[in-house]
Structure formats: structure tokens, C-alpha cells
């Protein structure tokens, strides 16, 4: 097959239909990634305009430009847009675009999930923007502290918009986390062992692990607060056994790792770009990997440092203060690795490098003020003042925006295939660098002089006027800088000349492909023999295009890429990926209707839409699979590998494992909430408990165990080829799961009034959660039964029975914990 014919066949095979239909059904990672990135930058512009309104208002004392109410919406939306609609989605879009190219594969593990995530992000973002347009935007601060965000103090729809809109958007973050975790683990080039993985792959892997564990507490907190606002369950109301501090714990359990979720991919860009322009490989690869993993862990031990002023005991504060200082060390390891790379190399100037230098300066300054506020006594002085605003902007702009701009200019020729022009870009860099420092350096002083955050105006004569004026001028310089970047991008896209392949002589895998990228990335897949392979991306690109790699010949109309063992990168399967589909868009639309129904309190619509989401999920899963048992197929170098439907450690299996980990984190946060309220909230013990009833919990437990036992037998029968027996056991698992669901529903109905005291609310929450898990387990079993009946399941194609066993196992484990948490208090306090 000639390279041109191979290109045409693969381009057609991996492409989407033309026109609107193609746009709406596309699942290709390059396309979805670019969509995420462009949308995120649009939201960045909107967030930036809101920042300009803030700076215009604060430029002088007593300004009447915005009133307090509007100012509340503007600063809340500025933070919300920048964090949830710009930073996180940009990280997702960047990883979506880059990961398969870095890892030498043709797409991510779950292409339809990428598309679904994008639609959720877009629709959720539009809900928030629509609220802003009609003057009903959230106005209780981007971290929505209770009781300000609770119903009595925020009676309008504003806080509901935040809770539901952001949760809708966060679905895309969880989807991305599951997809990236699985992709880095399984979907790599042959031979790409852990030590040969590009450093950016490690960064994105650790980031996605943090997203997997970081977002569930926020999603849980948002659900609980929305339930409190909509139905009066007092989780955060201290007069009825709730506690506003629970919100702060749940929010910052997410919120602090969030800072690192944003920072790590940006640091990954620096670790990729800097060595290219320093002319030598990154110093201390293994040290950097270790520091990333350590950062991933440590960042979950810092959340209370946002709560130093809430009155926790000294020792608690000291524990978190110690951990907050500790996290400097792995960050410093990276900074020293970068400096050593610069010192050991021969750095050449380029626009991406200017942004890297800007990053080093601004981020280190922000890091140093971070060490200051990690010390409790200093934090009490600076808490809730503009000093903290200055610190967080130095960290986030220095640690995220500068590296992102470095990455933008570095990979722009990759996405467009055109040369960048430094002249305008350099002017933009200096405007941004000057603007950041002019805006935020004086803000440290306004903060130290006592100016609080989130005030819409201030009196003259406090010594704040001059500093604020300088900050506002700086803010506008900063905006001019970003406007220059935008102009530069437009000029680039319209008028730039064609760039050669690998214009920076990076010699890394993502440049060993045509630019702009094709639908399929690599015409044949590379075999990696050492890290930083290849040294000559152009030569490798030509060899791969000529078919001197793996899976070079398209066959059966399959979209194929290689799956590997996690550690050593040995191929262990051929992954067959799905093509363009309406399902992601339709599922996201149905999900959107669920959220809109909740927002406007039309719960019947939400329930109907939820049923549609379940139907979509069923159809989604049914689109895949093989009717015949697969046989190993040649990879192209003499080796054979089984198509993934016949492999146990397939991406689908790992996707389920990671989904369960995220689900378990949400559940652990819920249990933490119950224990926290019981121990720390005022008004406990509650006036009434569940009746000390022995039969109901025992019957529920029996149903849980029966479900998992049936699922285990179903899986085992299927493995030895007894299809009829397997189907009987799977049907049994479905019924037993349904019985367990009923047990938990009855428990929730037996709870003392959930409106009267938070105890009743927690009983309903725990019971409801476990009922939902068993109900999903029932659906899994039913789906496996149905697929087996129609011939999609066999001893070799065993994904459905195995997934049923895994889910019912999780439902049984978490359900047992719920039973203990629910019934131990009434049993132990019974006379």
C-alpha cells in the first residue's frame, strides 16, 4: 500500500461525515480537544471582561459604577468562570489533544466520552452565562460559603445556578479523569514503558488521578447544598443540626487539590518546552516523577489551610500548616530540575521560552507568599484581605496562564501547520508580564493595609486609593497584552506561512506526524525503544507514513490502536475504537434537561429526562462489541494480539475500576459528612433516631450479599461456557439488587423527618446513595443478561458479567458500610 493510499483510507476510516452532522457526531480527540481549548479561551475572555469591571469599580474609593448586588455577581462569576469554565476545561482540552500524540496512539480510550464531556461542559457553561445575561448569576462568591449561599440569605435562583451549572460542568471533569487514567495506563505505543513515557504523560496522569479523587467531594457538597435549598434538608443549617463548616470542608477537599490540578499540567508544559530550548533532556526525570506523585498525595492534606480562621483547635491548624509547608519541597524539586536543565544546556531565546521565564518569576513570587500564608499567625493577619487575592493570582497566572501561553505558542504550529511570528507575540508577552506585576504586586500592600476581599467599594482616606488605582491601570495593561495575543492568533491562522514538520527540532513523538494532524495521528504506530524517542521526528514521521510501524494496514473497517501492559509497555491487545455517534450529544442534552428541570423545580421533567439518560447509557454500551469470538490478529512485526473485547484488562474494565474509585470517593465524603456532623455540629445527638429495627437491615444485607453472590456465579458460569446458567444467575443478581434497593428506600422512609434535624437528612442521603448503587447494579445485571441472551457474551467476550460482578461488589461493600452507619446509632442507644 502506498503512503498516499494509506493516508486516504485511514483519513476516511478515522474521520467524521461532513457538514453539521459530522460536527455534532464527531468523537475524534484532536477535534474535541481543539473545541475544548477554543471554548475555554472564549470563557477566559468573558472572565477577563468581568475582571475589568471589578478593576474599574475598585479604581477609586466610592465609585458608583457597580452597585453591591451587581458587584457580587461580577466577582462571583469572574472566579467561577476562570476556575470551572476556563482552567479545568483547558486542562481537559489540552490533555485530549495531546495525550494520544504523546503516547503514540490513534485516539483516547473512550472517544465518545470525550464528546459527551465537551457537550456537558458547553451546556453547563451556557446555563451560567445565560444567568449572567439575565442578571440572575451566582453572587455568593466562587466558593459559595454557607450560610450566605443558603436559602434564607440567597433566596433567588442565583446559587442554584452555580450548584447545578457547575455540577453539570464537572461531569465532564470526571469523564476526563476516567478517560485519561485509562489512556495513560493502557493506550500507549508498543515499548513505551513507564520509564520511557514522555514527562508530560506523567504530569497528565497524576493530574487525572487528582481529578478523580478531588472532584467528588465538590459534587457531593453541591448536591447536598442544592437538596438543602430545594427541599429544606438542613445539612449546613446550624439551628437544625447542620454545620456551615461541613461545606467548607467539602469545598476545600476539592478546592486545594484543584490548585495543583491546574498547576501540574502547566508545569508539564514547562518540563516539555524548557528542555527543547535548553538543548538537553530534562535533568532528574525520575526525581521529577517522584515529586509529581508526592505532590499528588500531599495536595490532599492541605485543605484546612483555607480554614485557618474558622476556630479549629491549635493542633489541627498546626498539622495542616506543617503539611502546607511540606508541599514546597516537591515543587522546589521541579524548579531546581528546570534550573539545572537551563544551566546544563545552551538555552536559545524563543517566544515560548519568554513565557517560561515569566512563569518562573511570577510563580516563584506567588509560591513565596504561599509559604507566608501557610504560617497560621500570618494567615490570621492576611485572611480575607487583598493580600490573599494577590497571592492566588500570582500562583494561578504565574503557574497556569504563563505556561499555557508558552504551550500555546509551542504547539500552535502543530495544530495549524503554520509558522509563528515572534514580533507581536513578544510585545504581548511584555504587556502581560508588566500587567500582572503592576496589578497584583501593589495588591499585597492594599491587603496588608487591611482592605478586605469582596467589598464593592471603600471609603477614602484609608491609604488604599493609590494602590488600587495602580492595580486597575495594571489590569488594563494586562488586558491589552491578552488582546495582542488574540490579534496574533488571528493573524497566524489567516496569514502565516507553512511551517516545516517539527519546527523547534523537539524530536519528540507528537511531531512525528503531519501537521496539522490527520484524523488518525500515525499512519502506522511506532515502537519505542528509549525515552525521548525519536531524536529525529521528521525521519520517524516519514517511516511511519510509509507503513514501517505497527497496525499499518487498515482492516475490517476497524479503528485500531494498540493496548499495552501498564509497566513495561508490551502490547497485550488491539483496541477497537468506536466511530462518530449521536449518542454523546443526545445523552448530554438529556442530562441538560435533568439539570434544567432541577433548576426550575419541574421535577417531573427531570425524572423523565433521567429515564432518557438511562436509556441513552444502555444504547451507548450496546453500540460496541463483537458477535463472534475474536482471534488474535497480527500487529505487523510478527507479534499477535487479541482484540480488546476478548481481553480481561481491557480499557473498559479499567474505566469501570476508575469510575468506582471516583464513586467511592464521593461515598467516603458522604460518610465523612455524617461523622463530622455527629461529632462537630451543634444540636447533636438528635431528638429522634431510626427505630431500633433488626429485620430491615438484616434483610437488606442479605439482598446485597445475594446480589454479589449471584453475579459471581453468573461470571463463573459464563467463564466455563454455561450460558443458560450464567443468564439465570445474572437475572438473580438483578432481582437481589432490586430487593437491596427496596431495603434502602424503606430505611430512608423510616427516617425521622429530614427537615427537622440533619440526622434525618443524613439517613436519607446515605439510604438514597446506597439505594442508587444497588439500582445501578440491577441495571448492570439486566444489561448483561440481555446481552447474553442476544449472543453478545461468551466465555471469551465476558466484559458484561465481569462488570456486573464489580458493580454489585461495590454496592455490597458500600451498602454494608451504610447499614452500619445507619443502624449502629439506634441499636447502641436502644434501652
Amino acid at each position: 500500500m502506498t503512503p498516499l493510499r494509506r493516508h486516504r483510507e485511514l483519513q476516511r476510516l478515522w474521520g467524521a461525515p461532513g457538514g453539521l452532522r459530522g460536527s455534532l457526531t464527531a468523537v475524534n480527540h484532536t477535534r474535541i480537544g481543539l473545541r475544548f481549548i477554543v471554548t475555554a479561551f472564549v470563557f477566559f475572555a468573558i472572565g477577563g471582561l468581568l475582571a475589568m469591571l471589578i478593576r474599574a469599580q475598585l479604581a477609586g474609593s466610592g465609585t458608583a459604577f457597580l452597585d453591591a448586588e451587581l458587584y457580587g455577581q461580577v466577582f462571583t462569576m469572574h472566579g467561577t468562570v476562570m476556575m470551572f469554565l476556563f482552567a479545568i476545561p483547558l486542562v481537559e482540552g489540552f490533555a485530549l489533544y495531546m495525550l494520544p500524540k504523546l503516547l503514540g496512539s490513534r485516539d483516547l480510550a473512550f472517544p465518545r466520552l470525550s464528546a459527551f464531556g465537551y457537550w456537558c461542559y458547553l451546556f453547563g457553561g451556557l446555563i451560567l452565562l445565560a444567568a449572567l445575561a439575565v442578571g440572575a448569576a451566582p453572587d455568593a462568591g466562587w466558593f459559595m460559603y454557607t450560610p450566605l449561599s443558603s436559602k434564607p440569605w440567597s433566596p433567588g435562583i442565583n446559587s442554584d445556578v452555580w450548584l447545578l451549572g457547575v455540577t453539570f460542568v464537572e461531569i465532564s471533569a470526571i469523564c476526563a479523569a476516567v478517560e485519561f487514567m485509562t489512556t495513560v495506563l493502557k493506550v500507549r505505543a508498543a515499548g513505551m514503558s513507564l520509564d520511557r513515557m514522555p514527562i508530560l504523560g506523567w504530569y497528565l496522569w497524576v493530574t487525572s488521578a487528582m481529578m478523580l479523587f478531588g472532584f467528588p467531594p465538590l459534587i457531593l457538597g453541591s448536591i447536598l447544598l442544592e437538596v438543602e435549598r430545594a427541599f429544606g434538608f438542613p445539612f449546613f443549617d446550624s439551628s437544625r443540626g447542620g454545620d456551615p463548616l461541613l461545606w467548607q470542608h467539602l469545598f476545600w477537599l476539592f478546592g486545594h487539590p484543584e490548585v495543583y490540578i491546574i498547576f501540574l499540567p502547566a508545569a508539564g508544559i514547562v518540563s516539555t518546552v524548557l528542555p527543547v530550548f535548553a538543548g538537553r533532556p530534562l535533568v532528574g526525570y525520575a526525581w521529577v516523577v517522584a515529586s509529581l506523585v508526592a505532590l499528588g498525595f500531599l495536595s490532599f492534606g492541605l485543605w484546612v489551610h483555607h480554614m485557618f480562621a474558622t476556630g479549629l483547635p491549635h493542633l489541627s491548624l498546626a498539622l495542616f500548616s506543617a503539611a502546607s509547608m511540606l508541599v514546597v519541597i516537591p515543587t522546589a524539586v521541579q524548579i531546581f530540575a528546570w534550573l539545572a536543565t537551563l544551566v546544563g544546556g545552551r538555552p536559545r531565546a524563543s517566544l515560548p521560552m519568554w513565557y517560561v521565564y515569566g512563569f518562573l518569576f511570577v510563580f516563584v513570587a506567588g509560591g513565596l507568599t504561599g509559604v507566608m500564608v501557610a504560617a497560621v499567625p500570618f494567615d490570621w493577619q492576611a485572611h480575607d484581605t487583598h493580600f490573599v487575592v494577590a497571592h492566588l493570582h500570582y500562583v494561578l497566572i504565574g503557574g497556569f496562564v504563563f505556561p499555557v501561553l508558552a504551550g500555546l505558542y509551542y504547539w500552535l504550529p502543530h495544530a495549524t501547520g503554520a509558522r509563528t511570528n515572534d514580533a507581536l507575540g513578544r510585545a504581548a508577552f511584555w504587556a502581560i508580564f508588566a500587567g500582572v506585576n503592576l496589578t497584583f504586586a501593589p495588591m499585597h500592600l492594599t491587603g496588608l493595609l487591611g482592605m478586605p476581599r469582596r467589598v464593592f467599594t471603600y471609603a477614602p482616606g484609608l491609604g488604599w486609593d493609590e494602590f488600587n488605582l495602580v492595580s486597575s491601570i495594571g489590569g488594563f495593561v494586562l488586558t491589552i497584552g491578552f488582546a495582542l495575543v488574540l490579534i496574533d492568533l488571528v493573524v497566524h491562522v489567516r496569514h502565516a506561512s507553512k511551517a516545516p514538520r517539527d519546527p523547534w527540532a523537539a524530536g519528540s513523538l507528537e511531531w512525528a506526524m503531519p501537521t496539522p494532524p490527520t484524523n488518525y495521528n500515525f499512519a502506522s504506530l511506532p515502537v519505542i525503544e528509549r525515552r525521548n524517542d525519536p531524536a529525529d521526528a521528521r525521519a520517524l514521521g516519514a517511516r511511519l507514513a510509509a507503513g514501517h510501524g505497527l497496525l499499518a494496514e487498515p482492516r475490517h473497517g476497524w479503528r485500531e490502536t494498540i493496548g499495552v501492559r501498564g509497566t513495561d509497555g508490551e502490547p497485550d491487545q488491539v483496541i477497537l475504537l468506536p466511530g462518530p455517534s449521536w449518542v454523546p450529544l443526545v445523552t448530554a442534552l438529556a442530562t441538560g434537561v435533568v439539570f434544567l428541570g432541577l433548576l426550575f423545580k419541574v421535577y417531573a421533567v427531570s425524572m423523565a429526562a433521567l429515564a432518557a439518560v438511562v436509556a441513552c447509557a444502555w444504547f451507548w454500551a450496546s453500540e460496541n462489541g463483537l458477535r463472534e469470538d475474536p482471534r488474535p490478529v497480527p500487529l505487523g512485526d510478527g507479534r499477535m494480539a487479541m482484540p480488546h473485547p476478548g481481553v480481561h484488562s481491557s480499557p473498559n474494565w479499567w474505566g469501570l475500576v476508575f469510575t468506582l474509585l471516583a464513586n467511592g470517593t464521593l461515598y467516603a465524603s458522604l460518610v465523612f459528612g455524617q461523622v463530622f456532623l455527629w461529632v462537630a455540629a451543634p444540636g447533636w445527638p438528635p431528638p429522634r433516631l431510626l427505630p431500633a429495627e433488626p429485620m430491615l437491615p438484616l434483610a437488606t444485607l442479605a439482598a446485597l450479599v445475594a446480589a454479589v453472590a449471584c453475579a459471581a456465579r453468573g461470571r463463573a458460569s459464563n467463564a466455563v461456557g454455561s450460558r443458560a446458567a450464567a443468564e439465570r444467575w445474572l437475572a438473580g443478581a438483578a432481582f437481589a439488587s432490586l430487593a437491596a434497593t427496596g431495603g434502602f428506600v424503606v430505611t430512608a422512609l423510616c427516617a425521622p423527618s429530614p427537615h427537622e434535624h440533619a440526622y434525618g437528612s443524613t439517613v436519607v442521603a446515605l439510604g438514597g446513595y446506597s439505594a442508587l448503587q444497588s439500582a445501578i447494579g440491577s441495571l448492570y445485571a439486566l444489561y448483561a443478561w440481555s446481552r447474553s441472551r442476544r449472543g453478545w457474551v461468551s466465555a471469551v467476550r465476558a466484559a458484561e458479567p465481569r462488570a456486573t460482578f464489580a458493580w454489585t461488589g461495590y454496592a455490597c461493600a458500600s451498602g454494608t458500610v451504610s447499614l452500619v452507619a445507619l443502624w449502629l446509632p439506634p441499636w447502641t442507644s436502644a434501652p
Binding site: 513507564l194 500531599l298 480575607d384 478586605p452 484609608l462 465476558a798
Partner: protein
Amino acid sequence: MTAPPRERRWSLASAAPLSAAALLGGQLVWSMAFVMLYGLHALACALVAGDSAWLRLALGAVWLAHVAVGIVLVEWLRRRARGAGDGTRRFVAQVAVTLAATGSFATAWTGLPLLLTRACEPPPRVEMGSAHGIARLAP
């Protein structure tokens, strides 16, 4: 029709002698120490009013036990790393030892406040918004 040969479940195991648990072990020890110290402390201070020497002793014991486990883990991993050969195994072994060592250090560092403060003492009351808006400790 037969089932496919059973594969190794978690492929880090294929980089024997180190497993995933070994790779992340040091950090898991730190996480466990952190959760135990923070959780036990919060529970004890809420349920048992006032400071007690026993509480500090118990927290100290939890802390030192985790430090000890961390040190044992470092030593065990170091020995196994010697036989790890080259390439991927050596890399995984090196990273595991580094993570275990940093995890042990983190465990030791995080617990140091136990030596410095009383267990359940509430923080002083802070007044915000004085003349210059600077927080002051209430007398």
C-alpha cells in the same frame, strides 16, 4: 470455546519485585498517618472535653508507629531495589524508594506539632476590621 488465559490483574506486578503498593507505599503511609492524626484528634477533642496527657500520648504513638513503618518500608524497598537490574524495573524501584523516603520524612514532619502544642486548645479569638482593617488578637 474457552476463557482466555488469565492475565496478570495489575500490570505493575509484572515489574516484580515491586508492586503498585510498594510504589505508592510511602505516600500511603503518610496519608494514613495524616488521616489518623487529624481524625483521632478531632474525634477525641470533640468527645472528650479538655486536654489530656493520654490523648497526646496516643497521638504520639500513632505518629511514631507510622514513622517506623515508613522507615521499615524504605529499608525493604532499598534492599529489593538492589536486585532490580536495569531499565523499567530499576526505574520503578528508584521511584519507589524515593517516594517511600519522602513519605517517611513527610510523616515525621507532619507530626512534629504534637511536640509543640496542646492537643485541644482552641485558637485565640481574632477581631477583624480594626482602624486599618488589620486583624487583632482579642485581649
